[in-house]
Symmetry: C2
DNA sequence: CATTTATTCACCCTTATGGTTGAATACATA
DNA sequence: TATGTATTCAACCATAAGGGTGAATAAATG
């Protein structure tokens, strides 16, 4: 369930074009589909599809005003993902310190 | 090129099975291919392929002792990825505070 | 109302992905 | 040396991904 979400976010973020879209949105705020597409050497349709993928992952949201669709980055999924990697690092450090502790105890028995 | 690396890491991490493999390795230290495969309801071969993907992304390394291959998680790619998400958050906050500042200046002109 | 503009939808194509099975390789061991 | 064990390689299959084009839809605008 949450795993599903994470997978979708990471898959969405795993494409260079989509990461560039995200970065653009984060630094410039909401942008229209056409404005985004202008940055890429590919068809408007392809960019539109990339946006859809990001949207399905929750990484961006869409606000439609008339015929214009404004796309904005969302912060929450970024936090979720960052925290997954962070937790993994924590577990790592936990294991290492436990290991170290065990080695010290071993030394205490000086056998 | 760094983008290439990131893409490979994120794609590798975008699969639930592979994230579980990573987690197992992080919490239990180096494990053999068979030992890892025992945790999953899929063929040994499939797990072996997942490991290969993780390896190509630099997320794990392999130490071969005789016929046994010991797989271990690597910390660096995790840090790299976490920092990409972190940077994105920073840019976000930078833009927001700039925006806030602009609004305050607007108010100063009290027109 | 006709036209232009903004965007998506529906297909098509090629390549990648995630899974399978069976054979090959590399190493221990009886 | 024959056999079993650990692992990968190779081929296959179904489905997804990432790209393209052309048509459809929605909304401004002359």
């Amino acid at each position: 369930m949450d795993e599903e979400f994470l997978s979708r976010i990471l898959k969405a973020a795993g494409d260079t074009t989509r990461r560039r879209i995200l970065t653009l949105l984060v630094q410039e705020g909401a942008l229209r589909v056409t404005a985004l597409a202008a940055h890429f050497d590919m068809s408007l349709n392809s960019v539109s599809k990339h946006i859809k993928v990001l949207e399905e992952a929750g990484l961006v949201t869409r606000r439609t005003l008339g015929r214009e669709h404004f796309i904005a980055a969302e912060l929450e999924p970024l936090k979720l993902t960052e925290s997954w990697f962070g937790q993994l690092k924590s577990i790592w450090e936990l294991r290492l310190s436990a290991l170290e502790h065990a080695l010290v105890s071993e030394g205490d028995r000086h056998d």
